[in-house]
């Protein structure tokens, strides 16, 4: 691993994330990539709790907790204030879950990106409202069980493509990243920091508790998500130029579903249907990147 140089920690042990929490791993890598000249805006999500109860703070950088839907807006304010102070060094980051990004926080995100506010918006995606008890979000993938899509009512709607939604804003930089690919993640974080304007990082962060997997598989399942094309690694610059970062060995999607309790109810028929959708999306992505399937 080339990350040996990043031995500086900006996070402490003793936080209350679930064992195997992908979001904790994501934040650890993220801070290692950015250093401490960062202000984090933290709307309601699992990290609101992981950040530590008063008077403790898990991370060693300034954090401002904000209301659920305000990630993009509070960050705009912090950035404006720093600009008025003449601070050109500090990076403003919004660190939000999928709820605060895809759903209730979408307006503020869209508004901030449309104004091309100079900040990095990170969505660590565990694919449901995990903090409140595993309820579905528009980021919950097709086929998943959640507490609000139980039994036969498992989610039969596609996961919202947040990166595409932001690409439509011609956002200067949007990229997907994954906790099982730390070097790629770090590279993208550093690249985001070097660009002025709005940047969006969609980090795949597994949730053993909500996905019903043993905690030790947290990284492995994240890797399989990329290898099955369920969560491709790619970047889009200026809303136009697509670059695919990783061409996987192409495992069937069943490899991704089998270890997860939240997908246990899927039949072979269901998986076949999902495989078709995944293949279609991958072909579309290849075309956008100027490559042929």
């Amino acid at each position: 691993m080339e990350l040996r140089a990043f031995d500086q920690e900006y996070m402490s042990s003793g936080h209350v994330a679930c064992p195997g929490c992908g979001a904790a791993i994501a934040m650890r890598f993220f801070l290692k990539a950015l250093g401490d000249k960062v202000i984090i805006v933290l709307p309601a999500c699992c990290w609101s709790i992981i950040a530590g109860p008063y008077p403790q703070s898990t991370v060693k950088v300034p954090v401002i907790h904000s209301a659920f839907e305000t990630g993009g807006a509070v960050a705009s304010g912090v950035r404006a204030a720093l600009d008025m102070k003449g601070d050109t060094e500090t990076t403003v980051v919004t660190w939000a879950g999928d709820g605060g990004t895809f759903d209730i926080g979408f307006q503020a995100l869209s508004g901030a990106v449309e104004r091309n506010e100079d900040f990095i918006y990170v969505c660590y995606d565990n694919e449901a409202y995990m903090n409140t008890g595993i309820q579905r979000s528009s980021s919950t993938p097709y086929g998943a069980w959640t507490t609000t899509t139980p039994g036969d009512e498992w989610k039969k709607l596609r996961k919202k493509n947040i990166v595409e939604a932001l690409v439509a804003h011609r956002i200067p930089y949007a990229a997907t990243a994954n906790i099982a690919f730390p070097e790629d993640l770090v590279r993208k974080v550093k690249k985001a920091r070097s660009i002025k304007g709005s940047k969006f990082l969609h980090i795949f962060a597994s949730c053993p508790t909500g996905w019903r997997i043993p905690s030790e598989l947290s990284i492995k399942i994240a890797r399989i998500a990329v290898q099955t094309n369920i969560f491709p690694l790619y970047e889009v610059e200026d809303g136009l130029k697509y670059t695919i970062n990783y061409k996987p060995k192409e495992f069937p999607v069943s490899e991704y579903f089998k270890p997860q309790g939240r997908f246990q109810h899927l039949t072979d028929e269901d998986m076949k249907h999902i495989q078709e959708m995944v293949d279609e999306d991958w072909a579309l992505l290849l075309r956008k990147a100027g490559e042929h399937p």
Binding site: S48, A73, V78, A80, L82
Partner: protein, 385 residues
Amino acid sequence: MKRVVEGSQAVAEAVRLAKVNVISAYPITPQTHIVEFLSEYCANGTLNARFLRVESEHSALAALIGTASTGIRSFTATSGQGLALMHELLHWASGARLPIVMAEVNRALAPGWNIWIDQTDSLAQRDTGWIQMYCEHGQEVLDSIIQAYRLGELVNLPVMVVLDAFYLSHTYEPVDIPDQEPVDRFLPPYEPKFQLDTEDPCDLGSLVTPNAYMEMRHNIAVAMEEALFLFQDVENEFKAIFDRRYGAIEPVACDDAEIILVTSGTVTSTCRQVVDDLRSQGERVGLLKVKLFRPFPVDLIRQNLTSAKKIAVIDRNFSFGASGIFAQEIRAALCNTHKHPPVFGYIAGLGGRDVTEDVLEEIYWNTKNNEVPEKESIWMGLQEV
């Protein structure tokens, strides 16, 4: 320098003089002139501030929470629906102890789209921990906004300066717009007591368990109480430089009044005339203008109202299932006094309906001619529909 300006422009001038650094607002009638003036000042450099053209009022206040937490003097303006949308964050701003100042243009709440004066919007937010000042005229608006920064930054509480839709926001009046130098003497640069700082990192607004939350809330209550005293000090400082003072309440001919009319906002101006007229007819009537609604000046209310025989409160608002809100607060203030007069509650002028001298006189005679109020709230001028 005295100029004839719109109430909205008085707001903008005050913001300019207060050297606000970030403005974040979303347009809504009839606040739009305020944001338009401020946009222009920012664009032409008259005001060295960043104007955030946010995409909703909720985001407007959210952005300011970010700004103020980073130690910068901030401003927003809104009205009616916009204020209602901000509700969650009004609580947040005071809980976070941020001295944000807002110009709030009182406007009726929908449905039934109604863009005219009604105080229910701002009064419905009376629990949110914001200092609330109700203004009568353009000069008071300008002065109050400047004083709001001084007061808010002393106690670390947000301040809402309230002005009537159209009657104040769009009315042109002569306003003395001070020079920058005396304002600078009155209002020093903002020195935040805490802020987000990478050199001294901290986490603001985290999870607080039952064993610490109550103390924080008590702290806000203490700040509000101090605000009442500090308001007076701030007014003293202001008077010393600008020779103007308003008071948390302003009694007019109350010393020997048998009936005291209580008003707020532009209705007060009309009422001054009505009190003059009635006095000239020999009626022993007085007027109490309430400026500072939060913190509610309980002692001053008691001092000024207990000697009268009857109190008539004119509310341009209503709390459904209860009564007019000023009347509620006054009744509550008087409740624990040894002997206090009955409080007659009148509801008038909702949704921009004009409160004329006739309406006010009718209120006076109704009060005089009844020993006790016929009903808790009497709605004036309802038509048959």
